[in-house]
Structure formats: C-alpha cells, structure tokens
C-alpha cells in the first residue's frame, strides 16, 4: 500500500514531494475527497460554516483549498437534522473544496466550567437553553459524518497542558486512546471521510511518546498533535512537537492543532509538522490588526489615518496587490483605518489580507523546501520580523538549533 514516497488509504493519498536535508521540514501533496492540497498548509477557520464575512468565492481566490468548520458549533447551529437534510457542510456553505472538522473536544477546554468529563463522554449544559447534553465519541462521529468533512478528528480528552495534575493528564491521554477506538468503531464513512487521531499527554514528553505509539498502532490516515496552544511556554510547545514528529511515520500528514502565529508556523514546519489551524488571523483582523512580514500592525492607530500605502507593500492579496494587476482593489491603510471597528467592510478586507498572508507564508515555505533553501527562508523570515538578531525569541532560536538551523550565526 505504501510506496517509498506515497501513502494511500481509502479516502486520502499522501505524497512526499521533498524534504529539507537540514531540518525535518517536508513538502507534500495531500489528496482528499475534495481535491489535492499542498502541504505545509495553514487552514483558516470557518467556525460556523462561514469564514467571517468572506464569500466562499473570495476564500477560494486566496488559494485556500482546505478550511475548518467546528463540529461543536455546527451541531448547535444549524444542527444535525438540518445538516442531514441539506446534505452536509459542503452543500450548506457552497464550498467545493475540503473541510476539516474538529471533534467538539476543544470546546471542553474553553467551556470547562460547564463540562464534566466521564468515561462515557463530556457532559455540559447547552448554551442555548441550559439543558444537560452529552458529547460522546459516538455522537461526535455521527455529527462529523453528517457534516461530511474530508478530515474528521477523534473526540479526545483535552486538558490544558499547563495542568499540574499528572494523574489526570495520564487519565486524559489513556482515555483519548480508548475514545479513538470508539470513534473508529462508530465512524460510518471510512471510505469517504478520514479520521485523524490526536496525540495527547500534556508537556510530559514520555507520556506523549507513549501516546504516539498507542495511536500509531490504530493506523489512522493522519495524525494530529493536540492539547497545545493552551498557554504553555513556547519552548515546551516546541519540545512536544519535536518529540512527536520524531516518532511519526514519514508518509502520513501531521497536524498541529490550534497553531497560527507566523513564527509558530515556520518553526513547526522546521520541526516536521505539515498542517495548522488557528482563529487568530481572522479574529485579529476583526480587531483591526493586519499581519505583515514585519509583524502585526494595528490599523486603528492614528498613524495610519493618512497612510495611503497598501496594508503591506509587496503583498499579493486582492487588497494590497498593485492596482495595475487583475483583481486589485487598491485598498489603502487610510481606508482600513477609516472603517476599522466601524463598517464590517474593514474587517472583511483585513480578513482577506490576513488569510492570504498565512496561506502565502506556507506556500513560500513549501517552495523553499522544494528548492532546497528552507534554512535560508527561515533566516529571512526572522530577519524581516525582528529588528536585529538579539531580539529573536529564545524559544525559536533553541528549537531551530535543535533541527540544524542557527539563527544567530550567519
């Protein structure tokens, strides 16, 4: 089934295109039921089957071919009955490319006060009417089958990584493994939908490794590293990713959940991860923030009121690209400033820009891996982001040193 460069499973083909000889970075092609996507990839989050004001057509034009929906939210609105009647989330939102759904498990962390986790599943109070609800692995699978996502995530027992309770952490990790078995058993469409496992284990690397082995034994078509981006220190995060990727098979996609800051993406790619998602780029857009290669700019600041340049010079998004080019809008910082937090249009424009930036960053990383210049790309990226080498974050320098890139030395 698996050749040297290609892995095939019923609903997915993974083809390794190139690897960075220095770091663990890889470029690959992941073919899903709704078409091929190039990895590494950033997946924007269309929580409620809509990418925050962008039409599916606008999202498609950014080059996005795989976006997220949240099972928890779609289960509440429009609800499983509607999803079944409409024929799934692709049909609901008019999106003919791929969709990945989470399990609804992450909302346990954010709603932990309301949730009570037992072996059976997660009990929580409906935010709609306060009635008690139970999310089991079987129910999560059933919902994701109704959504029809190309990649489904198992229900896992998520705990904030910073939790000091080792026993609870172990319980969560082992329960996640047991729940994966229940998910596999409950998954109705293994030929058309991929189910990914999620590696848990907090910041304890041995527990993570143990979880990797258990999860890999279940042979899911893809593997996610979960429970991160919950407030842990960045070097702990990097250690966990590095410890996991070391054990993971070459020919399966590796998804680090909830990662979105540009530095995190670039470092995680170097550590051998392929897929990322985060609401931050689109959320921060609605707060008036633009992501650029020189860092984040808050368009609400008065300094941009009469700045008639593009949001980011040299950016190829429809807002910023030179006005002579096809599809260019000629948006200025001044116009975004003028309407930020006032008209929804400003949020849409920054969302468009930020999503483009994130996708383009991964496109550039991929190109660099293929052209065998990934270490130089990483150095260039950090060079743009920080005024000088002394201000590089220590966690990034250390993590990259671990995979053969020395940011400080030229």
């Amino acid at each position: 089934m698996a050749s040297n460069r290609t892995f095939t499973s019923p609903a997915l083909t993974f083809e390794l295109v190139a690897r960075c000889p220095v770091t663990r970075a890889r470029a690959s092609i992941l073919t899903l039921p709704h078409g091929a996507v190039n990895l590494p990839i950033f997946m924007p989050v269309a929580t409620q089957a809509s990418l925050k004001g962008l039409t599916p057509e606008q999202l498609e034009a950014t080059g996005c071919r795989l976006c997220l929906n949240n099972t928890y939210h779609l289960g509440l609105k429009p609800g499983q009955e509607v999803l079944d009647a409409v024929g799934g989330a692709h049909k609901l939102q008019g999106w003919n490319h791929n969709i990945l759904t989470d399990s609804g498990g992450f909302q346990m962390v954010s709603l932990l006060k309301l949730a009570n986790i037992t072996e059976e599943g997660v009990r929580f109070l409906s935010p709609h009417d306060g009635s008690p609800m139970l999310l089991t692995p079987e129910h999560s699978m059933s919902l994701q089958n109704s959504i029809g996502s190309d990649i489904m995530m198992q229900l896992d027992d998520v705990l904030v990584t910073t939790s000091p309770d080792k026993a609870r952490m172990r319980e969560a990790m082992e329960r996640s493994v047991r729940w994966l078995d229940r998910c596999i058993a409950a998954h109705k469409n293994p030929d058309t939908q991929n189910l990914f496992c999620i590696i848990q284990g907090g910041l304890d690397l041995d527990m993570r490794r143990e979880c990797c082995r258990e999860m890999l034994a279940r042979n899911t078509p893809g593997i996610a590293i979960g429970g991160l981006s919950g407030g842990e220190a960045k070097d702990d995060f990097c250690k966990v990713v590095a410890a996991c990727t070391e054990l993971l098979p070459d020919l399966k996609p590796r998804y680090v959940m909830g990662i979105g800051y540009p530095e995190d993406l670039v470092v995680s790619v170097a550590l051998g991860a392929d897929m990322f998602d985060c609401v931050w780029p689109t959320r921060t857009a609605r707060f008036g923030n633009a992501i650029t290669k020189h860092g984040m700019l808050n368009m609400k600041r008065e300094m941009y009121a009469a700045d008639f340049g593009p949001i980011e010079e040299g950016c190829g998004c429809p807002c910023c690209r030179p006005t002579e080019e096809e599809g260019a809008m000629g948006i200025t910082r001044a116009f975004v400033h003028h309407n930020a937090a006032k008209e929804t249009v400003a949020a849409h424009l920054l969302t468009l820009h930020n999503v483009w930036y994130q996708l383009d960053l991964m496109r550039q990383a991929r190109q660099a891996i293929i052209e065998d210049r990934f270490p130089a790309f990483v150095k260039g990226f950090f060079g743009n982001l920080y005024p000088d080498r002394n201000s590089y974050p220590t966690w990034a320098v250390d993590a990259l040193r671990g995979v053969g890139i020395d940011l400080i030395q030229t």
């Binding site: 004001g53 509607v82 009121a305 008639f308 002579e324 948006i331 001044a334 249009v345």
Partner: protein
C-alpha cells in the same frame, strides 16, 4: 423624441431624455445619464447608499464582480470626524492621492470601482436630526465622534478637493419627520437660496468642469421656495452651471413642471428616501430619473431578501407560475421574504426563483438562514448582493416597460397598477437580529428605546435573558 443635452461643451455630464410622455412635464421618462470615465446610467435607475464610503457589507471586489450598481451616494459627514486627541487634523480623505485606477479622491480613498458614478452630499441618507440646527453659514453634521459644525465654505472646498461626479449644494434641511412651520420653511428656502448663490459664484471661478451640481429642491411647498427655484432656472441654467436637481419631495415635480418648464430637461435625483418599490414607482411616474435608495441597506440588515419583479408576473399565464408563495392563492405577494424564519432552515431554493445573482446561483436559503441565525456577517453580504440585483432588475423592467410605451401609451401605467395589486404595501419587519448599530448611524432620542439585539454575553449563573424584551417594538 425629446432630446436635451447639458454641458456638451465641457463633456463633464450628458443627459438625454430618450422618451418622455407627450403630455409634458411631470411624467415618467426614459433617459441616459453619462459622465466621463463612468459607466453610463440608463434612467430610471438607482444608486446605492454608502456608509463611511462603503456599500455596507460589500468589499470593493464584490461590488465590481457582483453588483450592477452604477452609482454611489456618499456623505461628507462620514469622512470628517475629529477624534478627540487629533481634533486639529485635516480629514485624511482631502489628502488622498489619485491614481490611474481611481481618478478622483473620493474613488481613491474609498477604493470604489472607477466605473461607479459618485454623488456627494453633506449629510448621510437618511440623516440623523441634529439638536443644534443649522446657522446662516453652516449645517450641523453628525460624525462618528459626534455632532459638529460644517460651514458651507468648508463643504464647498471639500467638494472641490474630492471632485465627486455629482455634488449636492448644502440645503437647510431639518431632517425631521415633522413638517416645518411656514416661518421655518421660508427660512429654509432663503438660506438654501443664499448658499446656492455662494456655491455657484465660488465654483464658477475654479477649474472644476468635472463636478456637476444638482441643486436641492426643498421638501416645502413650491410657493415658499419659488423665488429660489426661479433663480435656478434664470441664472444658473443658461450658464450651464446647473446640471440637475436633487429632489427631497417628489410631489413638487408637477408644480415645478408647471411653473418652471425650463428645468424640465434636467436630470432629477430623488433623495426623498422612498420606503418601498410602490413609492419608487409613484416617484417615477412623477418624473424622477435617479434614486438614492437607503432602504436596500436596511432591508439586508433586517435579514430580508427582496422578492418582487417589475412588471409583476402575470397570473393569467399559468405556464410560468412562479414559485413565490401566494401568487396562486390570489392575495398579494410579500415584497421580501424573511430569511430568519425557520421555514427556510432546510430550503435549497435560491432566494427568489430565476434570480441570477451570486447569492442565488451559488447559495441557497438554508445557508443564509443559518448565517443570520449564527449572526455571521456573510449573511448580510449575500443579502446585499441579492437585494441590489433585484433592484437593478426592477429598474431594468421599468425601463423596458417605458420603452414599450412608445408604441403603446399606457403600458407602463398598467404595469404599475398591476404591481400595486400584486404585492403587499409594506416590507415585512424582519424578525432577525441586526448587525451591531454604530454611533454614527443612530442617535438615541431621549433614551429608553430598549435593545434591538440580545446581549451576546451574559453571566454564567444569570437567569435566562428575557429574550423577547430585547427587541425594539415598532
């Protein structure tokens, strides 16, 4: 038959009446309004109303791709706020550089597609009434940082700087639903008269051939403003300084045609905020050529999809029975459908049958229902695209009926009568929640209006919010 040209020599604006009723003055007419470097506007037609330089919820790429709208109404008060710490700053829009793609500062600042004709007025449409009132040399405007004074001089200089295609001189309006008493009405006419005289003397000595002035016709009786209107006809029409009329009350058109026939060939822009298509048709029959239509934005925000066509579908022709709900049962059809209603939750139908807009061809009612229920901004975007498409089609239908009228006088009037019978008189209210209202759009009068939308967040242990109380009645 009747063809009139304006400003042919300057090439700034050209208006042709292609077809007007034989009986003369105040009647529906077919025309074409063209500005250099803009798409020509076949009239009767409408323009979208912008908020802070944007058609609400529509990014400029969506405007170019999915809207046929050829005009945009803009208000200077949307651009001249004075943030507290930067009270002395020059409004940034005055300093915008123009580009080859955006040849006026107004287009350039707002990234509005170059093909779209712009109208600039001092105030939003509809405007929030100011408690301060106007003075002899200024109007009171409402910006995102509060009420401020806009002198007629500053407004004129803004117009020169921004070079809109159509500029509306300042008018002394009350922006109140209450009809002004005769003393106030007289002062409105006198002030507007003075301001317009200043306007033309200032604008004539500058090199602004591109700006076409549409002089305001006030919402007061003709007898009160006849002096002002006669001056327009006698002093500024022959010099070609006056290019059109901005009509705040379409019912004045018969008087205008009767007493001031010289003004008849001018294009007439309605700023009278017609609340429904019935009102639009009535104003068309009175001779309005172009409309600024604020209700499109309000309707989209209310979660409504316009569902009327002009001419209305013929009920006798059973072979093409439309899917619209009540056409067969005999009752009038609704002017819009409320996408917030649960009936649409699983409907894969387009918003209206046969509509070719992006929202109808790529999406369905179930999605828009979901977006509204989840308060996702895309819902309003798609409704805007649809509602603009319906209005464009409506006006295309009006023009086609008027064109047929050449052969068969009365065709159009007959279609208007059938339209009145075929559709309900008013829009449904729309049960959905609206987008968050912003300070510059709305001013509480005396307080106590209540909340239209439920609070998004509340205390965990708090009792369930009394949801129904959250909305404004009326």
């Amino acid at each position: 038959m009747t063809v009139d040209n304006q400003n042919l020599e300057s090439g700034a604006m050209r208006f042709e009446v292609i077809k007007a009723a034989l009986k003369g003055g105040a009647a529906a007419r077919l025309g074409r309004l063209a500005f250099a470097r803009r798409l020509p506007i076949d009239t009767p037609n409408y323009m979208g109303v912008t908020s802070r330089g944007a058609l609400p919820h529509l990014t400029p790429d969506n405007v170019s791709k999915h809207l046929e709208t050829t005009g945009a109404y803009m208000a200077l008060e949307d651009f001249i706020e004075r943030p507290q710490q930067y009270a002395k700053r020059t409004p940034p829009i005055y300093e915008t550089p123009t580009t080859t793609k955006h040849n006026t500062r107004l287009h350039s600042f707002t990234a509005l597609p170059q093909s779209v004709t712009t109208v600039l007025s001092a105030r939003r449409l509809p405007a929030v009434a100011s408690p301060m009132g106007n003075t002899n040399a200024s109007v009171s405007v409402f910006t995102s940082t509060g009420f401020q004074v806009l002198t007629t001089k500053e407004y004129l200089s803004a117009v020169k700087t921004l070079t809109p295609d159509i500029a509306i001189p300042p008018a002394d309006l009350t922006h109140s639903p209450i009809t002004p008493n005769s003393k106030r009405a007289l002062r409105m006419a006198e002030r507007t008269d003075e301001w317009v005289v200043d306007w033309f003397s200032e604008l004539s000595d500058s090199n602004n051939p591109r700006i076409s002035t549409f002089a305001p016709v006030l919402p007061v009786s003709y007898s009160i403003q006849w002096e002002y209107i006669s001056r327009l006809a006698e002093d500024y029409l022959p010099t070609s300084q006056l290019s059109g009329l901005a009509i705040y009350d379409a019912d004045l058109l018969p008087d205008l045609a009767e007493h001031c026939a010289a003004l008849v060939p001018l294009p007439r822009l309605s700023l009278a905020d017609p609340p429904t298509p019935h009102h639009i048709l009535r104003q068309i029959t009175l001779g309005i050529d172009l409309f600024a239509l604020p209700f499109i934005n309000t309707i989209s925000d209310a979660g409504l999809a316009l569902s009327f066509t002009f001419p209305p579908p013929t009920t006798t022709n059973t072979s093409s029975v439309s899917e619209s709900s009540s056409s067969c049962t005999g009752g009038p059809s609704p002017l819009a459908i409320d996408l917030s209603l649960p009936a649409h939750a699983t409907s894969l139908l387009p918003l209206t049958p046969n509509c070719t807009c992006y929202a109808c061809t790529s999406h369905h009612r179930a999605y828009i229902h979901h977006l509204l229920s989840a308060r996702e901004m895309l819902g309003w975007t798609l409704l805007q695209i649809h509602n603009h498409a319906i209005m464009s089609a409506f006006f295309a239908g009006v023009r086609s009926m008027l064109a047929q009228g050449v052969a068969q006088e009365g065709n159009f009037d007959e279609a208007v009568r059938r339209f009145t019978l075929a559709y309900e008189p008013e829009f449904p209210e729309g049960v959905g929640q609206r987008p968050r209202a912003r300070g510059y759009q709305y001013k509480s009068v005396g307080g106590g209006e209540g909340r239209r939308n439920k609070p998004a967040w509340s205390k965990l242990d708090g009792k369930a919010q009394d949801e129904e109380d959250g909305r404004i009645e009326a």
